[in-house]
């Protein structure tokens, strides 16, 4: 039983320069307790996807088609008030920039307390401050925060980026969401702190059984955190499959090129193969498959039609090389 079912989702942004086709026909599921990692470069639509699921898109965005079924509810049919009740306890989101995630004028304690209070209210229980404090301390210990009693008395600017991301994850755990969305939560952090956070998320998934939608530009990070991987390019879903299959036997030429063009610590000598050109401008995307101008295997049909998502072994891939 899937917790989240996204079907044929398309999103555009209206801008003064024209229509930006940010996402096109995205379809995927996330099961209970599963983690899906979305990998993409800038402009691939990965953050748009995260915001679309939480219904936090800016006003100039528009849902063109598709549905988002979360826990048997179609999120796109909900009113703003009904959606607000899903956020936090249903879907919780951690953003990329730790510096702007928390309210700067409240202590960490008050911000975490609010999270607990909201959960108590939605569960129909009576809020007890002392009980809440002990719960907050125990969750901060769960996220491996040193000296939680001292940390909760501080303001956000007194914490480091790694500490804030831990507070955000702790807030998530206090709300007990079913789906945890993390939009590049480690990109602004140092590599040793990133490793700590990734390890923590993995432990929490195991202990609490939450589903995770993890967004990253670093395909190597996906290898650590994901059960399955989705590769986005210029708003198109190119490939979707288990982390093992996608990393070791990538089907789409873009995934193949991406995997071979990043420097790796375990790989030795030899020049890196490159992908020519650059990511297309979505105001005026290439027709057909959006990767075709950079693709080494392009055929005539690639610029004329968009390939369908085809299943090859256990991978879904959008490419004419695998027939239609």
């Amino acid at each position: 039983m899937a917790l989240l079912e996204v079907k044929d989702l398309s999103i555009i942004y209206r801008t003064p320069f024209g229509i930006v086709n940010a996402l096109n026909d995205i379809t995927f599921n996330i099961d209970k307790g599963e983690s899906l990692t979305v990998v993409g470069e800038s402009g691939s639509g990965k953050s748009t996807l995260a915001l679309a699921i939480a219904r936090l898109l800016p006003p100039n965005a528009k849902y063109v088609s598709g549905s988002i079924i979360f826990d048997n509810i179609d999120l796109l049919k909900l009113s703003s008030d009904e959606m607000r009740k899903i956020r936090g306890t249903g879907i919780f989101m951690v953003f990329q920039e730790p510096a702007t995630s928390l309210n700067p004028v409240f202590k960490v304690k008050d911000q975490l307390m609010e999270a607990v209070r909201i959960r108590y209210e939605r569960e129909g229980n009576i809020f007890d401050e002392n009980k809440a404090i002990s719960e907050i301390i125990s969750v901060l210990k769960d996220v491996r925060m040193p000296d939680p009693e001292l940390i909760i008395e501080r303001y956000p600017h007194q914490l480091s980026g790694g500490q804030i991301q831990r507070v955000m994850i702790a807030m998530g755990l206090l709300m007990r969401p079913k789906l945890f969305i993390a939009d590049e939560p480690t990109s602004a952090l140092d590599v040793t702190v990133q490793a700590q956070i990734l390890r923590l998320l993995k432990d929490l998934k195991r202990e609490y059984g939450i589903s995770i939608l993890f967004i990253t530009h670093d395909i190597a990070v996906a290898s650590i955190i994901a059960d399955s991987v989705m590769v986005l390019y210029a708003g198109q879903l190119m490939e979707l499959g288990s982390v093992k299959s996608v990393m070791h036997e990538p089907k789409h030429p873009y995934t193949q090129a991406l995997l071979s063009s990043i420097p790796r610590i375990s790989k030795t000598e030899g020049k890196l193969p490159i992908i020519g050109g650059s990511v297309p401008n979505l105001l005026n995307p290439p027709p057909g498959c959006r990767f075709h101008p950079r693709c080494p295997f392009r055929m005539d049909i690639c610029s004329k039609a968009v390939p369908n998502l085809t299943k090859v072994n256990d991978i879904y891939v959008r490419c004419f090389l695998y027939g239609q």
């Binding site: 990734l198 990070v221 420097p263 610590i265």
Partner: protein
């Protein structure tokens, strides 16, 4: 002193004021707070090779890079370029030395003046040295060709019309137009997409071979350091903790911090990471002994009390750790 060393530093120190220290603080007799961004660094950079300087944020790697190209004045210590002490150079001498020492900055979205045309950005260093007219245009066209930018279509554009990869090529062209010997590359690809990163890295290798350039590659990305460099230096809280040839250091890291750093790097096919505990400490009030002491799994009593000297452990690999000091 071997002739194959291009740049050498002796006990280089750079101290910044952590907080503004003005007349009011003076009247109130407050103590100024200092940050030792680069603390007693003695290194040698070999000619024609790439030396990677790897560290986390706040380790002082960018400050060290800026010191080497004379963009910062050291608080104490010496920098020798071709055995000439450049910390004492002034005026015309300094201008001539600076043409030989160039830097490519991290973020091509903020390092290029948005009001200037591409050909003016690239040509400015030469213009400052008195080159004008046709000679200047020819030099700009030549260097643009070398970094893979089309002169006829891009010369009169402005940075906002270029992609991230193209902008970084402009920054590289600007650094190379004075024909430098030494180039500091400060995170040259960290602002670029994965698919354009390889293009820029390969371009840098080609240019190095063609012009016999010496690179100092500043990066937090161990995988990029591995791909690009011959020699690697690991920096932590202003100190160099380990130096050696890149292959050996990454295969068999000796310093506990280097080991923890490498265990933290995600890689395709790797499913577990083993990061060190804790976070980088405060630079205003650093640990008295070894800087890594509070996070080190092998810490001993001596590590808290005294700073370890940097000693050669094997085949030219130097480590600053009490585990390797013979008593």
């Amino acid at each position: 002193m071997g002739s194959d060393v291009l740049i050498r530093t002796e006990n280089l120190v750079k101290v910044f004021l952590a907080k503004n220290y003005g007349i009011i603080n003076r009247i109130l007799r407050e103590k100024p707070l200092f940050v030792r961004a680069v603390d007693d660094v003695s290194i040698e950079i070999p000619t024609g090779k790439t030396t990677a300087l790897v560290g986390e944020s706040g380790s002082g790697k960018t400050t060290l890079g800026r010191l080497l190209v004379t963009l910062e004045q050291p608080t104490s210590g010496r920098i020798y370029f071709h055995d000439i002490d450049i910390t004492k150079a002034r005026g015309r001498d300094l201008r001539n030395i600076r043409a030989k020492l160039q830097m490519v900055f991290q973020d091509p979205y903020s390092s290029l003046n948005p009001m200037m045309r591409i050909k003016d950005i690239i040509g400015e260093p030469l213009k400052n040295r008195g080159v004008r007219g046709k000679e200047l245009d020819e030099a700009v066209a030549k260097i643009m060709g070398e970094v893979g930018l089309d002169y006829s279509s891009l010369a009169t554009r402005r940075p906002s019309e270029l992609s991230g990869g193209q902008r970084q090529r402009v920054a590289i062209a600007r650094a190379l137009i004075t024909n430098p010997e030494f180039v500091v590359l400060d995170e040259p690809t960290s602002a670029l997409d994965a698919s354009t990163q390889a293009q820029v890295l390969n371009l840098l290798v080609d240019l190095q071979n063609r012009h016999n350039l010496t690179y100092l590659l500043i990066t937090h990305n161990v995988a990029v350091a591995k791909y690009m460099s011959d020699l690697i230096m690991i920096m932590y809280m202003g100190k160099i903790l380990e130096i050696g040839d890149t292959g050996s250091v990454l295969k068999e890291p000796l310093h506990p911090y280097t080991q923890a750093l490498i265990e933290s790097v995600p890689d395709i096919g790797k499913s577990e990471l083993k990061p060190p505990t804790g976070e980088v400490g405060s630079l205003v009030n650093p640990p008295k002994g070894c800087r890594f002491y509070p996070r080190c799994p092998f810490r001993m009593d001596i590590c808290r009390e005294r700073e370890p000297p940097i000693v050669e452990v094997k085949n030219g690999i130097k480590v600053a750790c009490w585990l390797y000091v013979k008593k």
